[in-house]
Symmetry: none
Subunit: 339 residues, 6 copies
């Protein structure tokens, strides 16, 4: 008889040590320890958590923001690199699966920063390095988009685990590309966004998308969002009252865990720092699949055929018998084994 995973998930809602990668990683390892202490087997962190989100794109013009780009570039992390090593060690030490967002420095160009989600197994293996495909609106001033090679679901002892960053959860096709790989547990990582247009309620916008993905796929969805700390406000707004007001707007963050019926398993956390815990029992996904199984009997793959081009896109493709040039693009130096 089939046995399905059942475990506790932790959705972290927290602020980084702004633009300080080492300190943020230290805070993350503490939070991993705390969550593991509460029995969590999966700990999800926000998008761009290490070392924080480039709010200046939303509050000043691009030329004024230019020195901030350099500051972020200098404080970003290499993959692999010491920050990643520290996170892998924490995961291994506590035996938990960790998903966390980082600003990844492009190895091949000083203009390249990626908004990258790392997935680390409970034995400390770096399972996934997913670079956000399209930065959202003002984020285009900072980040370079990734390619299709990282849209992968990972087979873990907690089930088949997939990750998308922020606005990617709006992208119907990106979401389906994960569901189609048999995703069972989805992690959606967001940042607090008090700076969006006024009628944009970030908490609602997160909840709608999390519910939809869970309902459509009959999966559990863990959502983790960052928090705008006073430190961030000081750093970004300084004395500018208008920006301070803007950054103080409520309902800018929501974290929690949603079930396969599209409803939250426990009450989500809005705006405040904290960890939301809930039980994930994959057996709860079987019976709802009878109603809709959009990767099975409830779809029509004779009618719809979604192609995912997983080609890694590098600035140069070297071919030929003796193509031993140094790797031209910022491929992770330790390519993860594809299972």
């Amino acid at each position: 008889m089939l046995d399905l995973p059942r475990f506790t998930a932790a959705a972290v809602q927290a602020a980084p040590a702004y633009l300080d990668a080492a300190k943020t990683v230290a805070k993350a390892t503490d939070l991993i320890a705390e969550a593991a202490g509460h029995g969590a087997a999966l700990v999800a962190f926000p998008e761009a958590f290490v070392p924080g989100y480039p709010y200046w794109n939303w509050t000043m013009n691009p030329v004024a923001g230019s020195p901030w780009f350099e500051r972020l570039y200098r404080s970003a992390v290499d993959v692999p690199g010491p920050e990643v090593e520290a996170l892998r060690a924490a995961a291994r030490r506590h035996g938990v699966t960790v998903v966390i967002g980082v600003n990844e420095r492009g190895a091949h160009s000083m203009g390249v920063l990626y908004n990258t989600m790392l997935t680390i197994s409970s034995s400390g293996e770096l399972l996934g390095v997913h670079r956000k495909l399209v930065p959202t609106w003002a984020e285009k001033l900072t980040w370079t988009g990734g390619d299709g090679s990282s849209l992968r679901v990972h087979d873990t002892e907690l089930g088949r685990l997939g990750v998308l960053a922020c606005g990617e959860n709006t992208n119907t096709l990106a979401r389906f590309a994960l569901l189609a790989q048999g995703e069972q547990v989805h992690v959606a990582a967001y940042i607090a966004l008090p700076v969006a247009p006024e009628d944009y309620d970030m908490a609602d916008a997160i909840a709608i998308r999390t519910a939809a993905h869970a309902f459509e796929g009959k999966v559990f969805s863990v959502v983790s969002t960052s928090v705008v700390s006073p430190e961030i406000v000081d750093a970004v707004a300084g004395d500018d009252a208008a920006v301070r007001t803007q950054l103080a707007r409520p309902r800018n963050a929501l974290s929690g865990i949603f079930g396969p019926d599209g409803r939250p398993v426990v009450e989500p956390l809005v705006d405040d720092e904290g960890i939301v815990y809930a039980e994930i029992d994959l057996a709860r996904c079987i019976q709802p699949k009878q109603m809709h199984d959009i990767i099975g009997h409830y779809n029509r793959f004779d009618v719809f055929s979604l192609h995912l081009d997983a080609t890694p896109r590098t600035p140069l493709v070297v071919t030929g018998r003796d193509a031993e040039l140094p790797a031209p693009a910022g491929e992770p130096a330790e390519p993860e084994p594809r299972s």
Copy 2:
């Protein structure tokens, strides 16, 4: 300067004259008149409205339900046919665009019933005949699935109009196939479903999907659901108290209009008969597209490529110089011109 449509939409929540196509069409024309009287330019009706939904599939075993199949087959409508003519005349008379669900009799086989959504222009033209791709769970006992040829968005004076039936709104790929054609106004037609498993809250399940489609696509979404009338309860349950209880379960229907931020424009109507009216102003869709435009700058068509096979699937493909054999499958007699 671009002028974008702005108009009143009406979402009808009503019960049919059960298994009586002529009477149901008469009721529908009355409701069209009423909605037009309130200024509506678009009137959306529930799925399978003419002449009603096969509840017996959920309340009895298939063999017991077999005579009910014949009853529905005999009372279903032909497309084209007198019922469709009456609906087209009503649309033309009142100058409103109408979307309505019918049980369509397959012209070529006595085993074929389609769950079909008709789209009728304000001049009475039959714009679309969309046959639901996959019947949902117990519905598979009654309906034959359609093919990809009808997944089309229609250019109307109200904007680009798309329609999906019930559980199709769960299908990420079907939804994207409409959005990708530039859909601006979506109609989602449902039936009241008190008979689903106990933990399935149909009102919630409708709201989650309507919100998600509107938010992902930055479109307006009009949702129309049928009602379980006492007449239906008597017909289907008879004296069976358990079935009567089952059919009386609340939160089985929700109708309303949702905006491009994923939130309802006006309060939705739950369970009761009535018409929900709201203003649709397509200009409201422009600015949110800056944040996410999943059919534009916010997608990656180098990475994702969704193929829609629009081949009409007929039991026989006739070729040859004088291939004038009678059309083997029940293709709509008035195919709309492909723009």
Copy 3:
């Protein structure tokens, strides 16, 4: 509410006036009158009934049979021609639909005889001229195969009517080509075949195929077979005792009417002359379609696609502005209007 035809069908089991077209047509019109007097609305005659079947192909070698070919060619019928006119008049006079097999003389070549099934409407219209696609074994010595242009189901007041000749009922694809056009009443015309190999029981072979077509398609199947009369024995066998014995072999013919469950509606008639009557009620076909509807929900036209090339195959294709050359092939002069 849908009304479906309900009527009496007559399956004629009879011998022709051998190699005398005029006399055989006179016998046929008498039988039409008799069946109409018993209330029949559909009268089915055997294959090659006018003026009989070329048994010599089975009892002598081809060269010895050669003068018999000339004899059959001279006594065959033209379509149109006086024999067809007489049959049309009888159908019109009695208001019955008639299906009958004839030896059709090819208008363009003295080497061409077709094994042709005529379908005549109750108003005397020549609905169909179907030329058997492949003559069976020894029949190849006499008949030329037809083309795909005549594989048509006819819309009549008795339902959608299709016809196949003898061994064509073994051809899975020919059978499906009719079912796919919505066939509801099938006529299978056979000849008595005492001359087949010893282990070939013609009555069984007819029953197996009739049952299968009715069961697969959920249709009614009317089967009509000819009889080997003493006159035929004298003509073909003369004093040859071995051939006389061969022609006297029992279980060489079966006529009757089978229902959509694959079972005979009334007891079939074996070997003897007579008319089998049974009621055909098309409403009986609806419920069985829920189990299997191979032209609807129970097939997969994304997987299987049967193409029928309906090109008329003529020895010469004449084109050009004034292409009024005499019709090169023996097309029926009164082509039925293609609806």
Copy 4:
């Protein structure tokens, strides 16, 4: 001179150890041993034999049947997996070719169960994994349809071997798709169906189809059907007298071996458990082909052209230079080599 296979076939009529895959496989291996002891070279088992047929779909409504779905899902088998290994070992050990039906768990989705026929060579190779294309009527509540990729005839030392599950034997086109590949020995696997509508005689319905396929194709057809054991009655009906009566209806199963003339080689077995043995001598198929060879001289491939789309239908098609994402759909992990 050509030598054609001649061997003993065994058609098993038996009940599974209901919903217990391991015990059912043990019973199957015992039956393989028994049949091999009687000289059988081919052993055919019923459809869905491991671990049994979902009768609840026919005896209760879908929602009530929902927990049964989960129970079947949990007790189904993976392909490959330990149950398949055990069957392969038994085939290899006894040197017999085995065809057996299983409930296959979809690797990629918890809503996917396939009704799968496994073909295992006498050396233990897994030759074929055929997923039933369309579940029949109430079965649609449980099984997902397969695609065209598995409609294959296998070259074995017993001749060219093809398999269809239950109602697929009604599908004219599915049958022809096997015949067209040169099928010589057909296995038709059924389940006991006492629960069909009253006028549906399952034993007759099996015999008609088996006879037709054998006669049309001039092939041998081995038909194997399951039995409703008291254990199954207890499990499904419990104390419900009506359901107990329903399940006790006679003439619900038939197993046997039919020859190329469409007649059974030995008396078929109706309802009771047992093994039917008969000799299959492929040389018997040559002479009947002179009368009708529907894949040769007796068809018209200029007129009829059957296309089989063998595309595997997966939820996601991954492309690209390093497209090593995890296989998105539950393809068999050990794909048989395509010759």
Copy 5:
């Protein structure tokens, strides 16, 4: 019972009154009378009989031959015109079908002469005006080729009658274009050709082609060839001994009647003037068709499809609502009725 024509055919081997149309027509009417007196129902004359063949093309260079062109142009006939009227009167008077070759003056241009075969019915109707498609070798210096509009078989009381001129009988496709129209009696008209290259035996070349057409089509073939009279030698060669020798070469002409087995019915006539008579019994064509019927059972019109473009080719095609310009090309003024 079918009755087939049986009659006497006459193949005329004769010389014209060289370059004198009126006298040649007078000679022809005398020969018609003579043949009719011998019971002939069909009288075939040579190619270009009225008023003779342009031998100068073969015996002098083109510039030297130029005045001869004018001479022929002036002595050619108009169709219709007095010479044709005289021939029609003779046919009507004697009740015989006549086929005769003429030099036809192009009505629209003084550079146009056609090598034209006239077919005149026994009632004097001008059935066919066939212009040789391609003049042969040196003939290209004189004649303009015709178009496909005249490649017609005529329904006469003698059977279906076709005609080709000289080298057209070498053209496989031209021959088949007539056979395909059901040709039963073929007329091949030639001229005496002593002027061909030395190894070209004209009598053999005629016999080979006549035999082949008769054998391939199982038709009767009537071949008629002209004779080189002393008058022609004097006119063309004058005192040139070499040319006189050339024109005196034997085996330059052959006339006769061949049967459907490809063999002459009576001994052909070589070189001398005279009339060959033979009986044509179309019933003799039936039995050989069993062996080969290349327009029926012995061809494959799914594989071969011969298209004949019968468009009349005129120097100007006038279109438009009021296209009442004078007929631009030399169409016969009395277009024959197309039956």
Copy 6:
């Protein structure tokens, strides 16, 4: 300067080792050696040489002939297969081009035998596998017709080489289809036919057709016919005196080589076993083309357009991404590259 092939051709007139493929191939290889020893570069064998012609179709009725069909099926050859390998080896060893007729067993059906002409290059390559399109009269009882895919002319060092089997040389369109591909050397393979109707002189019938093809196309034509050996008479006639007399009829075979003027290059051989040798000098074909070039200046492709449908006709057309089903029809395993 163009150099045209000039070589010796050998037309073999011989009997097979009846119904023994291995022995017949051994005899063929001996004859190849003998012909090569006489300087032949092209060796043509009769139709159906391996392992002989089914005379029983002409001497007994079809049912009596049925066991003979099985006997021929069992002794026929597979293409490719050991017999073909032996022939290829002999061609390669002696450096001669070989054309030979075989009974080819259809790989996909036990009812399929093809009358196949193999063309083997002097390097042993299997250039062509041409299956006779329409079996002639009584042959229809044995052979299945081929399709248009094999009507190909092969470019060899001896010129462009085409092949037709027996009655195909009667088919105007088949002949033109080869000429149109630039055929220069034609091989016509026949069988001795003493069994045709009495007035059918096979030697004449062969000569007429060979002459016609050579004359029309200005090609060389090599004709090879089989011989009725005493062994064949004993096998087919046994003690039946009438059949023995029939098989002894003279003028049943003719072999030889014909030139582009339609006349034999050397005296043909009638009835007796032997090899006819003659020189083929393709340069002799140039000058006659000035008179008639029916694939060039002497045809009118604006008027005539012959279409050849070269589609291979298979019982099943498999499509799809991984359409690696076993080839359904017995396509030759070594398809020649299409130049």
